[in-house]
Assembly symmetry: C2
């Protein structure tokens, strides 16, 4: 079993290497690819090192399984030929997620979707995976009919450059924090990665605005598209808001779901506590609820704040938090690979 990691030097690629090691993934040989700029970089893997190679036309020769995290444009260029040649590709970009022939798979939620794959399997969007880990089991039991989400997405969702931009801006601003009750716009650092100052701010703009003019960002459209596809609810109306926050790792999502059947918070908590890959952290009396700093570095998605608004016995509110680099990306990709081997 020869495994390739493509985009190995990025935040997700490095996490994939860590997780392959942690889970003792059954591989004989590992090859790491990145852009020409990173050629020759040495990455630690198991007790050894792997030397990064530049991507080239025949990169997939002899590769049984590729875990790719190189962005949508590169994925579109390099994956079809690899899949056609027999390399099974688990892709972390959004390039193929809406293709009819490409399943979006979360192993705990819809493992059966793997059956139809034709060489490319898509990993879901980081925020969508976090939400789906909680919504999946609830949908099976109660039938999801309406979804509203608002996210709190960390800067590492934009890779290490996002983390660096936050760090630089915090360095500039933290000694004048009290002036931020009345900030001088000229004195605020412009954001190259996030388009606005992200330190001491929240930015309701992730990825880019829908070129078709819906007013949604592409990040927001993914939530509805992927929930509909993974849960098989083609007519679900989903209202997503994606907001970047000055957090390093861990994406949180505030979820309102309305269900076909009446559901109590107690029943919901029971269903969630039996679900794989999910940990219920929900005890107001003991101030237990999930936050990104609790979830960063963990494999499980944390869910809490389970409650119901007065006057609607079919509505539920939840707050779910997952590590965007792990379950939101690298871990889910490795789990898909494990499932491929198992089958």
């Amino acid at each position: 079993m020869r495994v390739a990691v493509v985009g190995a030097t990025g935040a997700v690629g490095r996490t994939i290497l860590q997780i392959l090691d942690e889970r003792a993934f059954p591989l004989d040989d590992l090859v790491a690819f990145a852009s020409a700029r990173s050629e020759g970089v040495r990455l630690g893997f198991r007790d050894d090192e792997v030397v990064v190679r530049a991507l080239h036309d025949r990169w997939f020769e002899g590769v049984d399984l590729a875990l790719t995290s190189a962005g949508g444009a590169v994925a579109r260029q390099i994956l079809p030929a690899a899949a056609a040649a027999g390399t099974v590709c688990v892709d972390n970009s959004s390039a193929f997620r809406m293709d009819r022939d490409v399943p979006v798979v979360i192993p705990e939620i819809n493992p059966e979707a793997l059956d139809g794959h034709k060489g490319i399997v898509a990993n879901g969007n980081c925020t969508a995976i976090t939400a789906l880990m909680a919504l999946g089991p609830l949908h099976k039991r109660f039938g999801l009919r309406l979804l509203v989400t608002s996210s709190y997405q960390s800067v590492s969702g934009s890779g290490m450059k996002g983390v660096r931009e936050l760090a630089e801006q915090v360095d500039k601003l933290h000694e004048q924090i009290e002036t931020l009750t009345r900030p001088d716009p000229q004195a605020l650092p412009a954001g190259e990665v996030f388009g606005r100052t992200i330190a001491f701010n929240v930015v309701p703009h992730a990825e880019r605005f829908d070129p078709e003019g819906s007013g949604f960002t592409t990040e927001e459209l993914k939530m509805g598209n992927e929930v509909r596809k993974v849960l098989g609810i083609p007519d679900l109306v989903c209202s997503a808001t994606a907001v970047r926050v000055p957090v390093v790792a861990g994406h949180a999502v505030s979820i309102y779901g309305r269900f076909e059947s009446p559901v109590s918070p107690k029943e919901a908590r029971e269903v969630l506590s039996r679900a794989a890959g999910l940990r219920v952290v929900d005890d107001p009396a003991r101030d237990q609820y999930p936050t990104p700093l609790d979830a960063a570095g963990l494999d499980d998605v944390l869910v809490g704040r389970v409650r119901q608004p007065d006057g609607d016995d079919r509505a539920l509110l939840l707050f779910a938090v997952g590590d965007n680099l792990r379950k939101g990306a690298a871990l889910n990709a490795v789990q898909i690979a494990e499932l491929l081997i198992e089958r």
Copy 2:
């Protein structure tokens, strides 16, 4: 006209003094009160100073109008006697908001509610005011029927001690920001004000958990209670999530509203652009949308990201941001006082 500011040394009290000055509020004499601890503190007011006095039993003697921001417990102790003695009190706490005899007033939205007051007028909750500035005009035109909100609330909502706690935690953590992808729980500063580390985190817990066990926080329950009262929709189902974020000033709220009439984003933008106290900042093509750093220090509430989910022509999404110390507290209180004088 003798005006008292109670709680004058707090973040909201100081902002009230600034705004009385900025708006040339018609007063003859200003007295400032705070707890005994702050007795003798000198606060700048207009080109002069005012010396803070300790609250005492007869503080309201000779006071025509009191702007009080001293917390709910103090408000319950001191306001009924003052109101009975003829001092009109505009209170920033939540103590009286749900009283039948006490109107919650946002001058741009429900000025008529002032008519019934019996000496105490309540200022709304900071996040609820921000949401209501956008929801009010939309409700009048389209009829609000369902509301889901998720907030991004700044630390100054907990006063200057909240700002100090964020600053201290940022000082401790900012040089090790990259370790926060896998934080060591022992190394994270405990939060006294927020219950958790607020730097580089978001905390889905504001104020305290509902003692009646609904699972909501009291901050979240205020959203529904105040929207129902201010807009006069007693049966509105409201699902609010309140989250504290590491922002100094400016509360943002992600709003999903469903209306009785069909509504397009274009119509909604037209209605919002004609509303007083509101500024529409909504142009995806030019990357225009509101953030807390844009709203901090402003009087207007900013609203943008107006859009509609596919498949529901009665639903709207909005992102509103207001300065929690100004329109969310001090400014709205001063505007209520101006309206009282006008009437």
